[in-house]
């Protein structure tokens, strides 16, 4: 049973802001939301993590509504190098099995000039 749902792919252009939304209707009280970026033939790279409201770092922002049933990764002013697969991961409790460690297929973001 997949814990998260993301769009399979998205397109945008250089300089635009890109928002990728992840649905996680069964999120548990202790779950954190973590986003990763993966380039071909490389391991995923941590982007940002949050629990509620808004988190911002030097590369992205993460918006989490009050019900926490979804989250949105926001990439400001994307460039061609942001073309990658983005994964949303919702952390499970240690007693909840391996669901929280299932990345799913992610969102393939393609940035065009």
């Amino acid at each position: 049973l997949a814990k998260t749902t993301q769009p399979i792919s998205m397109d945008s252009y250089e300089g635009q802001e890109v928002n990728i939304t992840c649905s996680h209707n069964n999120i548990a009280t202790n779950d954190y939301i973590t986003w990763y970026q993966q380039f071909p033939s490389q391991g995923p790279r941590f982007i940002i993590q949050g629990y509620k409201t808004k988190v911002t770092n030097e590369v992205a922002s993460l918006f989490i509504p009050a019900d926490r049933k979804s989250s949105t990764l926001s990439l400001p002013r994307v460039s061609l190098s942001d073309t990658a697969v983005y994964y949303c991961l919702v952390g499970a409790t240690t007693g909840g099995g391996a669901d929280g460690l299932t990345f799913g297929k992610g969102t393939h973001l393609i940035i065009q000039p």
Binding site: Y32, Q42, G43, F46, G91, T93, T94, A98, G100, F103
Partner: protein, 117 residues
């Protein structure tokens, strides 16, 4: 700070053989995770080790096994290799998870590409 290192980078085996993949975590990280990423698929969780013990296991047959050594490095062993085992095998490490949840960010190596002929 050195990142997660995996060896070998590439590994070619034939059906029925056994493969051993190795992972060195970031210094100070005690948790090691293994994932399988087959072509066109997402990351499938295999195994999680912390402090030398297996903490959790994904939906894979018993011929996928591993261990974690006292220095927190880890091995993944795959016995009786099958064609569908061809994939990128990724290792990640993290600080010890806070008791009760798995939320620590994972830091990944660049994987071992296992090809079964």
């Amino acid at each position: 700070e050195a990142g997660v290192t995996q060896s070998p980078t590439h590994l070619i085996k034939t059906r029925g053989q056994q493969a051993t993949l190795r992972c060195s975590p970031i210094s100070g990280h005690t948790s090691v995770y293994w994932y399988q990423q087959a072509l066109g698929l997402g990351l499938q969780f295999l195994l999680w080790y912390d402090e030398g013990e297996e903490r959790n296991r994904g939906n894979f047959p018993p011929r996928f096994s591993g261990r974690q050594f006292p220095n927190y490095s880890s091995e993944l062993n795959v016995n009786a290799l099958e064609l569908e085992d061809s994939a990128l095998y990724l290792c990640a490490s993290s600080l010890v998870p806070v008791r009760g949840f798995v939320g620590q960010p994972q830091h990944f190596g660049d994987g071992t590409r296992l090809s079964i002929l």
